[in-house]
Symmetry: C4
Subunit: 231 residues, 4 copies
């Protein structure tokens, strides 16, 4: 019944490793079946080399296990909080890729310095506030999700499919588990390029609204003209 979802989430986890964004068990990808309210997610602490489709765990939006003999990722409460609040998203990815994590650790948003970023992210990549001691001590993973949702305010998560959790690492998403991983790949590139940009020119500011609109909107939305027409 959930074979397809489980396989898609398995494939997305494998892709995360193939793209060299994780080592050991440092990441997790999930996907949601909106019609049934079921989330498939990587099991906790299982290394990518040992992962198989049948080890993917199924939970509902409250975190109850529906299928699976392993414990789901310890970050599951973060994923669930995002699915409950960002209803348009279909998949979530968490990892500690080197360059995006540098920015998260530096507690700095990544300015939109160029079209590479603007093709995917409609503005600067936001960073959350540093979490309070209370938020950390109890329900830490749930509060991580709340902290992200609070940072987004009214912002459309599909226009900004990435966030840096301060002192920690990024979460990304998209309309599927695969798309969430693609967001992570692009975020990591964006982070790498941004670090070089401020090293070369510490005064460099973000690109103009006109250029941001041009690149984002030529790939997304009703007036997009990049790529082939879908038939």
């Amino acid at each position: 019944m959930y074979e397809e979802l489980r396989k898609a989430v398995y494939d997305a986890n494998v892709e995360l490793q193939k793209r060299e964004l994780v080592i050991y068990s440092w990441g997790n990808v999930s996907g949601i079946d909106h019609s049934r309210g079921v989330i498939a997610i990587k099991p906790s602490g299982v290394s990518y080399d040992e992962l198989t489709p049948d080890k993917i765990v199924l939970v509902d939006l409250d975190g109850n296990i529906i299928e699976g003999t392993l414990k789901p990722s310890s970050d599951t409460p973060t994923h669930l909080e995002l699915y409950r609040n960002f209803e348009s998203i279909g998949g979530i990815c968490h990892a500690h890729p080197t360059n995006a994590t540098m920015w998260a650790q530096a507690c700095r948003e990544i300015p939109c310095f160029g079209t590479t970023s603007a093709d995917y992210f409609y503005g600067s990549i936001p960073v959350t506030e540093v979490m309070t001691e209370d938020e950390i001590r109890s329900d830490y993973e749930l509060n991580t999700g709340k902290c992200i949702v609070r940072r987004f305010g009214g912002m459309d998560p599909m226009k900004m499919p990435a966030v840096l959790v301060a002192n920690h690492a990024p979460f990304t998403w998209g309309n599927s588990a695969a798309a969430a991983v693609e967001s992570m790949v692009v975020l990591e590139r964006t982070a790498t390029m941004a670090l070089g940009t401020i090293t070369i020119n510490p005064e460099q500011g973000p690109i103009s609204k006109a250029l941001l609109d041009k690149h984002y909107l030529r790939k997304h939305g009703k007036d997009a003209y990049y790529g082939q027409l879908e038939s």
Copy 2:
């Protein structure tokens, strides 16, 4: 009739991926048959893994499709503007390689800091002006080409087969599609080395005219003595 051109452009696109200068569909290579006024170019939004020679699109210098069922690259108007103005070039490459893009995002030309660069580029790698809102809002891709041509003024494009488009990424070229990709490979190395150079010594200036002449001219032009004599 255009099999050879299409194959050469396909091979050059594949080489771009093999050299790790593109991910997903982030780049495009074209080549021109000057005698017929026909350009072969990568289709828009097709990932490098899915690319085959028969998907390469043929257009004329005004952008009319001559052969091909797919839409040509969204950057086609930039390529055409360059072919119309730089008559000596035979191929063009556009990509977002990490280090060259850092310099483009920083809106800084890359000084000629050493012989690695001087062997291929006769001076500093130029950067365009930031495009105006008007240039961005209408005919953006055509205006990108005009902006490059304007930056070059009377400069010989074969002596400087690369440019950084400010806030965006590089374009490179050469006497063939393959040569355009080689220019991109060397530009990326040049950009990487230049970033390290200014980190080690922020006061470092470009090499002397004498050293630039020596290295560029021992590989190019009538007095070249590098490599084997062509028979």
Copy 3:
């Protein structure tokens, strides 16, 4: 009798190369059989490509050779001093990985800037004092061990399985030879991320005690809840 220990130490040495943390013979991993007081260690100056399990040398805690025809690693006295003082550890790794060695050469501890590090290391990665001329001139390798032990004072080595030897490179450890190598992998990542973090934000301080406790203790100790329950 010691086949298993020798094989485990061989495998850990191979893993070190596979993780791209050594070239040529620049590293060594050892493991200890506490019940017998026997240490297995890589032979000196043997490149990783030529290493086989039977070349692993067995020594006792005073450095006497028990089995093996090759000389043990020249760093053996450092390993022995650590085993004599850090009784809880089961394996030790020494290497010169690029980024961790940068910090060792800069004589700077690596602040705990994020959860990636906190998942493995309970605080900043310590750096030893610069060794004195006397310590260097006689019994250098033994004194390297003494210098590390002195730096640790009363600190629990299992909570901080890594140290940077000033002007030199890191040593790491764990409850087995394999775990010692994993500590080195994570240290190298931590070092890479920390360098980027201070480049982006030179004022960045370490994470809060609350966040350090949360991440370290969710993976280690009696209240750990990360990963699968061991049965």
Copy 4:
């Protein structure tokens, strides 16, 4: 008669590419047979993918071709000047590896910041003076060799098997063509680590004479105790 020398030089050139220190034809390795005064060297402008042992060119110490149908490397006069002056060396390597070239372009010597470097290089890696216009305009490659020899003064080239040519790139050497390549590999690592070291701690000075002596001399000379005893 020269099969062995030619093969050794071919193998060393291949190793240079395998270690990712060259792309295209950006490098050359040579070796000398001292008893016959014959040097084997890579042909000019031949890419590493096309190189075969029989393409290696043999020249005498004055540059006269002894065997081979191809032109020798355009850098041959530099190699010959080094062989004529550094009589103890058996092989020379020239390449443009990314990080060592950054230092050469920055016209800065690489301080000996740690034991990784001290194991191979007995002090800081020297950089030549910037060459004069006269030296560049005539007999450039010969003058490059003279400039290196002048920089070394009375220094023993076997204790410092590397030099950075200002504005250009490194040359390395050793007692064979293979050893010259190993020197290049280690130089590139040293350069990478040194760049990180000054980024982390701009005030960092070189290691003490005592530590330099300890590491260099435990691997080289009559009191060396690193590695296995040669039988």
